[in-house]
């Protein structure tokens, strides 16, 4: 048994877990990205509707297979990015997300990183595959959070291999 997390979820985490905002698949999304792995029991999907003219997020939604804080984090991110430009959104850090949530338990910080990783993955995908024009502010190198998401996925694959599991 390992669902033994010391209690300190914030009120905000519980509130968003109970009543998640912007939940569900968006059929007319401009771009979609997912991060995490079922092996980790930790997956977030974001759907972004982008106003392509001024590069603003007009609508966003999420789906989550994960713990209570994973769900709350994903929901909080969709609230934070509303009506922001993609450049503004790109600069959101997991610390900003954690702050908006009233702080995450230390062991749950990776929920924030995973959410930011998924978000940046969606933005990068928008510029590389949809707009096909990369703005100056978008680094060629993957960010820490994008890498974190990839590392988690890689680790899950490795562990699955080690324990002979299918992912």
């Amino acid at each position: 048994m390992s669902s033994r997390i010391p209690l300190p979820y914030s009120q905000r985490v519980i509130e968003l877990f109970k009543n998640p905002v912007n939940l569900g698949k968006m059929e007319d999304a401009t771009v979609f990205a997912q991060a995490g792995s079922p092996a980790c029991g930790d997956m977030i999907a974001f759907y972004l509707k982008i106003d392509e003219k001024n590069e603003k997020i007009v609508k966003s939604s999420f789906e989550s297979f994960g713990c209570a804080s994973n769900i709350a984090t994903a929901s909080e991110v969709t609230i934070m990015i509303q009506n922001k430009t993609l450049q503004e959104v790109w600069n959101i850090s997991w610390k900003d997300v954690s702050k908006a949530l009233g702080g995450l338990p230390k062991i749950k910080n990776h929920c924030g990183t995973l959410a930011v990783g998924a978000l940046q993955r969606a933005i990068r995908r928008y510029y590389t595959t949809i707009k096909k024009e990369i703005p100056e502010w978008l680094p060629n190198e993957y960010t820490k959070d994008e890498k974190h998401a990839m590392e988690e996925e890689e680790l899950a694959k490795k562990l699955a291999k080690k324990y002979n599991l299918s992912v």
Binding site: S2, S3, G41
Partner: protein
């Protein structure tokens, strides 16, 4: 503290509350507490190893209590060593046996043991011991052929629990002992019986086992006390160094209130034993099969029928993550636990669910509800009414994410 208060306020409190997390914690019946109280306030507080009137009095109470304690096991009190619980008992069974028997250096355990066995074995591996794990079938019972092939001249100890604490599978312990002793008479057999004791009949004398672990809090007794049965003639050494008192496997002064509570809980649990177990199995089946048949995409974890221990309900709800399940259950007043990996950064689910071949996403959606005789039909009904809503809300959040 304020933070927790606010959180609990937001979390809310359900009108109906059902505790089905007896695996992870318990309150004691009032009778048990009453039996413990005088040992804190008026009697038996002295050290039973000291030679004065109060010491002798404590010693006498200790002997009386311990006789009561071992009654249902049909063993002599001298062969039952008081410890601080199953974790210590299991540690002594592995490391204390190794400490006292240095010639043979191989230990075999099942792959679904309690972590106190798994981690003790890993420690012995770091000390140069060979450790082998017996694989299990998908119902959680061990593969006896593999065990047969593992036992050799070098094998010091085989440790196989009687019932699994997480998925409830009952192991063929009688066969284990036969196989082991046939192949190597010198090899010792230990069994962690903490998840089986009080929920099925156990006659240690008849079993011819060398060592067995027991725990008070797993039978509604006080926490912090358990026992290790050691057959006469089997050598074991304590792991902690210190002043030994009357008890010789765990140094320090005997904690009489806990011993009294342990004895009282055993007396209570073994009263009308057959009827109690029948009722528990009835509740268990209602809950297990009720959930299984009303909620689609659900798997039963562990063995069924005679091979499942009376108090265990463990299911995987596909498309749900276990930690979220426990929080959502909690908001509905159902207190339970999960084998999800969410709290750990190793990102792997319970080793038991992995051992029975559950895929990670199946293991992550597992929920353990452990019942006790203190649960009622009404409570089971409430869980059966509530769980479909809990599961469907979480599945809605998972949405179209493919697992």
């Amino acid at each position: 503290m304020k933070k927790v208060d606010g959180l609990l306020e937001e979390h809310g409190r359900s009108k109906i509350e059902v505790y089905v997390d007896w695996e992870n914690g318990n309150y004691v019946p009032k009778e048990v507490f009453e039996a413990m109280k005088p040992f804190y306030l008026e009697k038996g507080f002295a050290n039973p190893a000291i030679t004065h009137r109060l010491g002798w009095e404590t010693y006498e109470l200790y002997v009386e209590t311990k006789e009561k304690l071992v009654q249902p096991l049909n063993i002599s009190p001298q062969d039952f060593y008081i410890t601080h619980g199953l974790t210590e008992s299991n540690n002594i069974a592995i490391r204390g046996v190794a400490k006292a028997n240095k010639k043979r250096k191989k230990i075999i355990t099942s792959s679904v043991e309690h972590l106190s066995i798994i981690h003790s074995s890993r420690y012995m591996k770091s000390q140069g011991y060979k450790i082998e794990e017996i694989p299990v079938y998908s119902n959680g019972t061990i593969d006896l052929d593999s065990l047969q092939n593992m036992i050799d001249e070098e094998t010091l100890l085989v440790s196989v629990q009687l019932a699994n604490h997480e998925i409830g599978s009952i192991q063929p312990l009688r066969e284990v002992i036969e196989i082991v002793k046939d192949k190597n008479k010198e090899t010792l057999v230990h069994s962690d019986m903490s998840a089986a004791f009080g929920r099925m009949k156990i006659n240690l004398n008849e079993l011819e086992i060398d060592l067995a672990t027991f725990d008070s809090s797993r039978v509604l007794g006080p926490k912090g006390i358990g026992g290790l049965y050691v057959k006469e003639g089997v050598h074991v050494k304590p792991l902690l160094e210190g002043q030994l008192s009357v008890e010789t496997l765990s140094p320090g002064v005997e904690i009489m209130p806990l011993i009294a509570g342990f004895a009282k809980t055993i007396e209570l649990e073994f009263e009308n034993f057959d009827e109690k177990i029948k009722n528990l199995i009835n509740l268990r089946n209602k809950l297990l099969y009720g959930l299984y048949t009303t909620i689609p995409k659900t798997l039963i974890n562990g063995a069924e029928g005679e091979k499942r221990i009376a108090d265990n309900v463990n299911l995987s709800f596909l498309g749900c993550e276990g930690e979220a399940l426990t929080v959502e259950c909690s908001m509905n007043g159902i207190y339970t636990s999960s084998g999800s990996a969410c709290s750990s950064r190793i990102l792997m689910p319970s080793h038991i669910l992995t051992a029975i071949g559950r895929r990670p996403e199946e293991a992550h959606g597992s929920l353990l509800m452990k019942l006790s005789r203190l649960n009622t039909e009404e409570q089971i009904k409430y869980i059966l009414e509530t769980m479909p809503k809990v599961v469907s809300r979480l599945r809605k959040i998972t949405g179209s994410i493919e697992l």
